[in-house]
Amino acid sequence: MGRTIERILVAGAAILLSALAGCHATDNVFCSSAGCGWSSTDWARVAALSPLPDPPPDPSNRYCNDSSAAALGASFYFDPGFSGNTTLKDSIGRTVAAARTPLGQPANVSCASCHNPTHAGTDESSVPNTVSIGAGIYDVNGQQTVNAAFYPLLYWNGRSDSLWSQAIAVNESPFSMNGSRLQTYWRVVDRYLAQYSSVFPDYPNTQLTVAEATAPSGKPGTTSGCQAGSATEPAGDAFDCLSAADQTVVNRVFVNFGKAIAAYEYTLVSRDAPFDRFVRDGPGSGWISPAAERGAMLFVGKASCIDCHNTPLLSDGRFHDIGVPQVGDHVPTVEDCPPGSSTCDCTPGHEAASCAPSGAWAGAKKLVAGKFQRHSSWSDDTSDGGAPCLSTEIAVPPSCGSEPDPTLKGAWRTPSLRDVALTAPYMHDGYYQTLDDVVRHYNVGGVPGAATVFQLPLCGADVGGACMDAGAPAPHLAVEIKPLGLSDDEVADLVAFLGTLTGTPIPPLDAGAPHDAGAPHDAGAPHDAGAPHDAGGPSDAGPSQ
């Protein structure tokens, strides 16, 4: 008995001494393989967020990784000559007081105006910057073009399934650039023909055949067929009045214009953020602060951010209603969109594609109706199955169905968090100005009532009109949006972590812009009414030069 007690005492003393003497070495003994403070599960989740690979190929655009196409696309990207005149309209057709230039004047905006590549591809020039301002006023905050090549679906509402189709859609948007495909055709032919022909040798036919083709601008009207001189059709319906062959020529140049821009955007990738180095070298490597490291644990743990902000892009590319109010200057609300409206119809339970506040619901309808889908005849690989269905759970066609998933009402795309410290304001309508605001939004489970806009009342004796059965699938706040219980310190840690996601800045382009080549199209048209794009730089692109 005595000897046993003695042994126990010796063993206890050994434990005590090792604890006292071990210090950091003792820590290492008891830490997990992932590192002190890190569980192997959490570290595995963090490690899965870096590094950012190359963007996935787009089979519909075989030029997406072509450097010559990228160079041409860069010229297009910074050229305000592709924009039309200011409309002073917002996204649902309401007249607005001001845009970048007076009504009817050249808007003089390029892609870079609202998507500055040296600043994560965000909008720094719109004032106020909650939503973007071009020829008119947009309904959403400008999204990043840096890292845009990683998304399967583009726009906050996912209405485009390729970068090139997104670029040409923006070009013709009356409240964005308000350009037109005929204007783009002429701009390319007049100023970029040699470079264009070099990049796109498979499409040598850039010549139109009929006199009407001299019209400086034009795009498809709302009424099918040629309505020559119609005041309600764009540019007197100049495009619709082209021959089918000429329309094809114009459309091909227009599509290739988009594909070149997409090729340039494929080069806009944010890399080598402090977070990437932290993942590469491991916990305690010193690349990020202790607060940021704690924030990283929260990101993959208690805060549950990786439910949506996952993959190295830090976005799942999907669509969620996270309880952000649909409010703000020029942000259309459901009340702005009465049933039957031709510009924005948000009939409860039967929202139209024009119902801008419905987010991805409208986006899904527009995606299906689009003429330049990834699997259309304009694709470089028509065997490509096309984009996934627009859904909170992205599925593969043809299982998409005729009607969008009702949970898409009020849902918006998960943005990437790379460079997020540079992309204020935040959320689809710029509702929050700081990252602290954003984290606190999630911490309290969203803004109360914000997600009930598209939620029908439960059917019952005292409910008239549209309703839904209890338990039936219905549009609702994403289930993940519940109060998290983060402390103030934890909120600060998360914000510190988000600050480590800023990558090495995209370098400015060289001033020698090949888009100066070629004579301007002198048809006296507004397509070149903007200031000639000189070597001095990409107009209002800011620090890109």
Binding site: M1, T4, I5, I8, I15, A19, F30, C31, S32, G37, W38, S39, S40, T41, R45, A48, M297, L298, V300, G301, K302, A303, S304, I306, D307, N310, T311, D316, T392, E393, Q455, L458, A470, G471, A474, H476, L477, V479, E480, I481, K482, P483, L484, G485, L486
Partner: protein
């Protein structure tokens, strides 16, 4: 082969009641014998004297004498009562006992028993759109002491728990609890017991983490002369299964409780009875009517003060059918769900158990199953929404072997297959959280009895997940206990 603490095992209240009652009776007699001599002489003697005097003395007012005598009797009775009261107060009627449980533990990893199933590579994607947060594993699996406290509860969303140990994976010394047990024999057939635990824990943000809890506050009354039936009122041990008998550190052979102890070793409030029947008391029946279930305060369900009108009925029937010491029991409980604001839905448990003593070897086993419907409907009320439970299977088998009077060995295998959720997954907003457990555990332990006051115990718990879809969670625990009883 009897361990020093063995007398406390089995039926501790029975074991204590009779000796204490005898002690009280003896002391009461002693007090009467020691009463001061100022006590008046027997009334008969002055009465005889008075009669004699009356014959010889002058006639007096008889009624007046009677009144004087009555007054004298009244004064004497008052004095006697006061004396008895003083004597009673001087009696040592309360016994004080208890223990100090000091330990050292070292968990694996971060000491957390669950992982959150989240992100793009979920183990159970089918729960992704039903629950805000899904957790895999067993939150209480990395247990470090007899209280059932986990090495760390982790830092998870949507809940601000009191993480009593919060080791974050570091090895640590710990005072598991300091127990004080007070027993008082109120009469030869009534025994009051109170057990108070003092638990020193870390504070946080200038709050004091130490706490005190009363886990037993009961009155046991034995209404029959045989003493084989007891009625309890107050806060008492449950009647479900067998593990409640050694839930305390000084009763337990090893260090840690089983994975299902959380359902059976709580101390509910209410009324309980127990009767031992037949020759050699081979049949024991017990029943209780309590505020809530017998879940422990470590667990979500525990509800000390009832929040609904309905009460929980529980009971156990055990038999010893064979000549050797093998007890087989069946238990059940049924009642409104703890924390529910009404008595609509029932939470229930059923189980079977066995307990055998074979010389130096004890065999203990228990299997349990249970359920609770949880919340239904679209209304979300996080403050009063009960948890739902599917305890599909749970149980353990334990072997306690005293190799020598000094040294004992323990081996235990545990299983827990359960789903616990908060909120209605079918409601429009989904449910808050979901815990999926497919846990097994193997425990090996050693016990050294230094003397009747000192016991040293150590255990290694290997926690594993038996479903192929579950991630392997590194949360083994080494833990030990130095038990000092007084």
């Amino acid at each position: 082969m009897k361990r020093p603490s063995e007398s406390r095992r089995g039926s501790p209240t029975w074991a204590l009641t009779l000796p204490l009652a005898a002690l009280v009776a003896t002391q009461a007699r002693a007090v009467r014998a020691d009463e001061p001599s100022a006590a008046p002489p027997p009334l008969a003697e002055p009465a005889d004297d008075a009669d004699a005097d009356a014959d010889a003395a002058e006639p007096v007012d008889t009624q007046s004498q009677i009144n004087d005598l009555r007054q004298q009797m009244k004064d004497l009775q008052m004095g006697l009562d006061q004396t008895r009261q003083i004597a009673t107060l001087r009696r040592p009627i309360v016994n004080v006992g208890g223990y100090v449980d000091f330990g050292f533990f070292a968990p694996q990893g971060t000491g957390v028993g669950v992982v959150q199933d989240e992100g793009p590579s979920r183990y159970f994607p089918e729960y992704a759109n039903k629950y805000a947060w899904v957790f895999l594993g067993d939150l209480l699996a990395p247990t470090v002491n007899s209280r059932g406290e986990a090495a760390s509860l982790g830092n998870f969303p949507g809940v601000n728990r009191f993480d009593s140990i919060d080791s974050t994976g570091a090895p640590s010394f710990i005072v598991n609890e300091v127990n004080m047990t007070l027993t008082a024999a109120l009469s030869p057939s009534a025994l009051a017991t109170a057990s108070v635990n003092f638990v020193p824990r870390s504070g946080h943000d200038f709050s004091i983490g130490d706490f005190m809890e009363v886990d037993i506050a009961q009155l046991e009354w034995m209404p029959t002369r045989s003493g084989r039936t007891s009625i309890f009122v107050g806060k008492f041990d449950s009647v479900f299964g067998i593990e409640y008998r050694d839930r305390k550190s000084n009763q337990r052979f090893g260090v840690t409780p089983s994975l299902v102890a959380r359902y059976t070793t709580g101390t509910p409030l209410g009324i309980k009875f127990r009767s031992k029947l037949g020759d050699e008391e081979r049949v024991v029946i017990a029943g209780a009517l309590t505020n809530g279930s017998a879940t422990t305060e470590q667990f979500h369900f525990y509800d000390e003060i009832d929040s609904n009108s309905g009460k929980t009925v529980s009971g156990r029937l055990s038999v010893r059918p064979l000549r050797f010491d093998l007890e087989i029991g069946a238990s059940g409980s049924w009642g409104p769900q703890d924390h529910a604001l009404d008595s609509t839905d029932a939470m229930w448990f059923v189980g079977v158990d066995l307990l055998g003593h074979f010389g130096p070897l004890d065999v203990k086993g228990q299997w349990i199953k249970g359920g609770a419907p949880g919340e239904t409907g679209p209304v979300y009320d996080p403050n009063h929404r009960p948890y739902g439970l599917h305890l599909n299977n749970g149980g353990y088998l334990e072997l306690d072997w005293m190799v020598t009077p000094f040294l004992g060995l323990l081996a235990r295998g545990d299983l827990r297959d359960a789903e616990v959720w908060l909120g209605d997954p079918n409601a429009l907003s989904g449910a808050d959280r979901f815990y999926l457990t497919k846990e097994w555990r193997a425990t090996a332990g050693v016990r050294a009895v230094v003397n009747e006051h000192v016991v040293v115990k150590a255990e290694y718990l290997h926690n594993g997940e038996y479903s192929a879809r579950m991630p392997s969670i590194p949360n083994d625990v080494f833990t030990s206990s130095l038990l000092l009883t007084y």
